[in-house]
Symmetry: C2
Subunit: 228 residues, 2 copies
């Protein structure tokens, strides 16, 4: 589904100092995989997820999504690939402040020209699964942190994307709500969707079939993980 | 330090439906206490913290801060009380996007007219304690989620406020970084600062002397917590 080969990403600050966020990442995410990505704050997880999701470009290295080398094609082709393939849950949610929960979740469907009533039903159903049935008309600033998080998750899932990239989807919620979110993701994975979840929470990571650990822009080999 | 008596807070939506966020909260936070506040997403924790911090007003009930009934005084007096007494870590961080980490943290000091060099030294020291020594010139959008969180925490602590109100201060960070944050708060508590931390994370809550649990806008009695 996604394959990264020797991906490097460096940020250069205006003062000239340099942050090497990814230092040669090679990773294969097979179709139907359910991976958790863990590591210290600042180790490069969000950067890696953004690059897998084509929201950011590596400096060197290649990324293949669903067979297409997205580092080789024109950037103008990326939005269509992204829309077709990927549902992204952002660490900061990125909800549209002027739209309510229902409108935020239905937005990708509207873009696809799906009939308004059908889009609305699908969005309501998903929000209810997330326990937000009573909050669908609330705008983001009328929602709690964990409620905003669940709206962001719902928006990412509404198109049943083949690849789900979730950056800390349970960071603002209690264990019971985490369970609701992660079992929904497990169900989708059983139906064939590929899932990568960045998380700091071992309980959340336990739903994945495999945990990938990062440190300082590197993915750790199993030996490195065990402190060798 | 802070005392709430029968505090109610209701949000009324434009469509007329009503959300009872706090349904009669009575709570005493003694000087020098270190409390954790836990409960399901949407149960009213942030609303309660905002009201304790005078950032929001209850509909009914009283709040006393350091001996002053803040529900009885003119709202124009609140900013001074708040600045003198409270350091607030927001669930959404609320960093100023155009300022870098150092400037964000030094901002409360500048407001107090503290000499610029002294303010800068104090801010750098705190950021280094938070593991952000190499990131002080980064703006928020040049920081990871957990780095932004630590900048928000540093800004709240920079004035050594008597009362620290922290809304999910470890939601975006790994366990080791949580430990750094929570042991810093423990040190401050040992020196006499009063601390209330809202959290979903039992590890974070374990640093507190007492856990207060909420559900549906209520604080649970110990019996209710035990499911009686
Ligand atoms: N635009 C940028 N300019 C400079 N440095 C950046 C920029 N964006 C991120 N960084 C740095 O790159 C490093 C990796 O960032 P990233 O957001 O990938 O970390 P992360 O593993 O997701 O951390 P967290 O767990 O805190 O969310 C961080 O140290 C961060 O300061
Ligand atoms: N401005 C508002 N208008 C209407 N309802 C609101 C508003 N702000 C909050 N609410 C509702 O009040 C309830 C309590 O919100 P609050 O932010 O205090 O919850 P919380 O316990 O902090 O949740 P979380 O753990 O998800 O952060 C939520 O159900 C939320 O939808
Ligand atoms: Mg991140
Ligand atoms: Mg909250």
């Amino acid at each position: 589904m996604a394959r990264l080969t020797n991906v490097h990403k460096t940020y250069t600050m205006s003062a000239g100092n340099v942050v090497q966020a990814l230092r040669g990442v090679t990773l294969d995410i097979p179709r139907g995989a359910f991976y958790a990505l863990m590591g210290p704050s600042g180790s490069g997880k969000s950067t890696l997820l953004n690059i897998i999701g084509s929201l950011d470009r590596p400096d060197t290295g290649t990324i293949t999504l669903d067979g297409t080398d997205i580092t080789a094609i024109s950037p103008s082709e990326l939005p269509d690939i992204r829309r077709r393939l990927i549902g992204f849950v952002f660490q900061g949610f990125n909800l549209i402040p002027t739209l309510n929960a229902l409108e935020n979740v239905a937005l990708p469907l509207k873009y696809e020209g799906i009939r308004r009533r059908k889009a609305r039903e699908h969005a309501v159903e998903l929000l209810e699964k997330m326990g937000l049935g009573g909050r669908i008309h609330h705008r983001p600033n009328e929602l709690s942190g964990g409620e905003q998080q669940r709206v962001a998750i719902s928006r990412a899932l509404i198109m049943n994307p083949p690849l789900i990239l979730a950056d800390e989807p349970t960071g603002e919620v209690d264990t019971a709500t985490s369970e609701t979110i992660m079992s929904l993701l497990s169900d989708l994975n059983e139906k064939g969707q590929t899932i990568v979840v960045v998380t700091h929470d071992p309980f959340t990571a336990s739903y994945a079939e495999r945990v990938i650990r990062m440190r300082d822009g590197h993915i750790l080999s199993p030996d490195e993980e065990n402190g060798e």
